[in-house]
């Protein structure tokens, strides 16, 4: 093989080694938070929680709304989950329904969803 060909081989090897190092850093040492997920070492935020915990969080917000009747506060709490409040509510109710949550809990979430829907309709 000519000297020029060897240079291409070494250049390709260097790229491969660099690529592996980049992957190692990007996946293991310092994984970046994309799509709402992050390394547990760095700590996640509430919007990174999976759907089961999100649903329970929504249920807690609905329980609090039932007790306080404070819609702006409920919306503020729903905002913590990162998505549009109505989207968050819909996802949670769908998930809770699929897992056969207690009727009382489902009703609480539906009540809040209804009020949120009304609020959004009035705002638009």
């Amino acid at each position: 093989m000519s000297k020029r060909a060897w240079r291409y081989v070494f250049f390709s090897l260097a790229i491969l080694i660099g690529f592996a190092a980049g992957l190692g850093y990007g996946w293991l040492i310092n994984p970046i938070r994309i799509g709402g997920f992050a390394s547990p070492d760095n700590g996640t935020s509430l919007d990174a929680l999976p759907i089961d915990y999100r649903t329970d969080f929504v249920l807690m917000i609905a329980e609090l709304y039932q007790a306080e009747g404070d819609l702006p506060l409920a919306l503020e709490r729903l905002d913590l989950l990162g998505k549009q409040p109505l989207t968050t509510m819909t996802e949670a109710i769908t998930y809770a329904d699929s897992l056969n949550y207690a009727d009382v809990d489902l009703q609480l979430m539906r009540n809040l969803a209804f009020v949120v829907q009304q609020f959004i309709d009035n705002t638009d």
Partner: protein, 170 residues
């Protein structure tokens, strides 16, 4: 002596048999290897961060950052204060993975009280108290009071010898 003399024939070497010495030219440095390495690292990071990032499917409340845990704990406590359902509150708190939930709740109550969030602090203190003694009805729990640092007795003044200040120049 002369009889032992041997004739040595030296044949001139052919031009092709000579050792070839490369002609001096521009020497290639290994910088291209470093360039390849840097290029690879950039490509690797782009792939790992943008194209195919790590996704942790099972993030739990225990993996939340400090702010997230405080928020989660605060909501649990307020729900407990509103519903009085200690069993559900305990189950939710367990997901946070605190070693001593009552102590953590108490500490958070103190912090919030110092910041002026009385309602949430009260809810946290109620839950902390209920965890320590589940027989206590929630309504009978006293609202928390801000812990004040205990005043320490001032050390007695120690008389020191000082030189007399001259009132007039010598």
């Amino acid at each position: 002596m002369l009889d032992n003399t041997q004739e040595i024939k030296i044949t001139p070497t052919q031009p092709d048999d000579r050792v070839k010495i490369p002609a001096p030219g521009p020497k290639r440095s290994p910088w291209y290897l470093l360039t390849g390495l840097v290029l690879g690292i950039i490509l690797g990071l782009l792939y790992a961060w943008l194209i195919n990032p790590v996704v942790y499917e099972r993030s739990t409340p225990a993996a939340l950052d400090a702010t997230g845990k405080d928020l989660y704990r605060g909501i649990i406590a307020q729900v407990y204060a509103a519903t009085g359902n200690l069993e559900r509150a305990s189950l939710r708190l367990r997901e946070l993975g605190d070693e001593d939930s009552a102590r953590v709740l108490g500490a958070q109550a103190q912090r919030l009280l110092a910041e002026g969030h009385v309602t949430e602090a009260r809810a946290l203190a109620m839950l902390a108290a209920a965890l320590q003694d589940p027989q206590i009805p929630p309504d009978t729990i006293e609202p928390p009071t801000l812990l004040q640092p205990t005043p320490t007795e001032a050390p007695p003044s120690i008389p020191t010898h000082t030189l007399p200040v001259p009132t007039s120049p010598p």
